[in-house]
Amino acid sequence: MARSIQSIRLLGMFIFLGFGLLHGSESPSFFIEHINIENLKHVSERIVRAELQLDTGQEYDEEQLRQALYRVERLQFIRETEFSLEKGSRRGAYVLKIHVTETRRLFWLLLTDSLLVRNNYRLSDEPGTSKYLANLDGQAFGYRWFSRKTEWRVFLPGGFAMTHYDLFGTGMVVDAGLGIPPSFNSRDFDFGTLPFTEDGSQFEIAASDSTLIAFSSLTYPISQEQSLNLGMYSGNIGISELQSRGTEEKRKLEDTEFQFNFATLNWTHNTTDHPYFPLTGRFIQAGLQWEWNQLAFDEATQDLVGGYDTWTWSRNSVVASYKEFWQLNSRDSFGLDFDVRYAGVHVSGKPEELALETEDYVSARGGIELSLSRNLMNRRFLYGSRDFRVTLSAGYRRYDTDLDEEKFTPDPNYGMYHAGVGLTMRDSWGAFRITVRYEQSNRGLWP
């Protein structure tokens, strides 16, 4: 053991001294005339080039090239990257040769950057219709498992996805999969699309144990930093604790009683160094969201049950998001996250008294979050694409809703503070992240 420790120390000393010495000396720079990327099987060359953030005709030193190498390796579907230099067309010019090894196509997602779930999406017979319509305003449909005694809310969503990196050789990224909720009473789902559109706040759909959710997205990189993404989500939601009017009975909805569809179109400008776990750079996104849902409704009993007429609602939203990340040192990174959404809800079908024009129900949401992330194991350089990181975050979110006062009372306006801790890890199968958050509303403990 002692020998091992000594050996380790000495190796460290030489690596340290040697590199420190090299680091202190003049580092050679290379004029990169051309960049060749090799061994791509499914990944688009455009995507790799976008993450390189290197321009031909520029001079780079070894550290800058190494950082570019790490940026590529941080891609969800890149396992390893090797750089080498060859002669260019004239003396002093070089060709940067990049040999890429891809990860497997199947990867796991475990993302829990949820924003808000109100009332656990519990439909009830409380006076008026405001309550369950108010639920429509939530960013997510959700049901969180928590202990009412401790008032701590801990939840573990899950999902998996199959990805194709380069559809038809066009540089498009395709992401498709099926959500299967856990069988226990914890069911928040959170979907993220592949690199250019990662924004957990916009793709969260919670589900109960009778739910299957199909999701897919298509991302097209229009430049090194910009992309367009179209996302589609569709499924059935079973709702536990559905309570019929005038009864104490609660039951779950069956498969087709509640169907939802969700589509997004986003423009993204992304200069961050990693799509999922950025440490430095800027992420700007603006887009449109359409959501349309259908619910079975028993007109006679005013109950929500299957096999009867249906009514639908839709919500049209404009969203914008801004994120900035600063790398403080080799282990720590600081992040600023700001986003807004403006949405209108439209309801039609039965019951007729619930019919709403879009202007009757308009909501706005904005939030800011600060986060500090630390690499615990310094594995990034040891394993290439590997990373193990802990992130602390805290923020505030404001929800304001402008309702038709004749139809709704009261206005569900409130703010919410939140704090959380997350762990992230990447390996050859892809990325993995789990976050535990606590949220507190100034409107009440749990709005």
């Binding site: 380790i8 190796l11 030489f14 040697g18 590199f19 070894e62 090894t101 040192n329 590997r386």
Partner: protein, 189 residues
């Protein structure tokens, strides 16, 4: 090549082995086998046009350690190797070598002083010799270690990591992440 591990415990028992002999000031001098610089994984790294490193350690039966570090960068336009050596004397040696054959010859000349004179020498016992090949992408390992050293032990860059770094070093260095060779050799008279 696997990201995880390319651990080559070849030993080269049937081939050329490094030789260890007493040098000046009661230290030890290591001569590397020429075949090392023809091994395909070594050639791949040192021919990349970017800086790769060979970290050499020598360990006696009591666990006392010496070693050296060799940094190599091939310059495609001049078709030469820029070689930089740091050894246990704390000296830095720089050479520009035209071929790998020249490089092999250079390291056969006894330029690696791998043992501190302050260590008692057991001449009749074998030494374990290990060479790790660190590719260009591993450079940040050292940078981070430097940062960690400054942060954790309060030392300046260029200082030797302290015992307080053991755990960090164990995590970062002990993992066999690159090409590695090992031999056991006796001291040549």
């Amino acid at each position: 090549m696997s990201t995880w591990i390319l651990l080559l415990l070849l030993g080269w028992q049937h081939g050329e082995a490094p030789s260890l002999s007493e040098g000046p000031d009661r230290g030890l001098v290591l001569r590397l086998p020429g075949a090392l610089f023809e091994h395909k994984d070594v050639v791949k790294q040192i021919n990349s046009g970017l800086t790769a490193a060979l970290v050499v350690t020598v360990t006696d039966r009591e666990g006392r350690i010496g070693g050296a570090r060799i940094a190599v960068r091939y310059e495609p336009w001049d078709e030469v190797y820029h070689v930089q050596v740091l050894d246990m004397r704390g000296t830095e040696t720089k050479r520009v070598l035209a071929t790998r054959t020249e490089m092999a010859d250079f390291f056969k000349k006894g330029v690696l002083h791998v043992w501190s004179a302050k260590h008692r020498l057991h001449r009749d016992q074998p030494f374990a010799i290990r060479i790790k090949v660190l590719p260009f992408s591993q450079r940040e390992q050292a940078d981070t270690q430097a940062w960690l050293t400054r942060t954790v032990s309060g030392q300046r860059p260029g200082g030797v990591p302290t015992m307080g770094m053991e755990l960090i070093l164990e995590r970062s260095i002990k993992r066999p992440t690159t090409t590695q060779f090992e031999w056991k050799v006796g001291l040549k008279p």
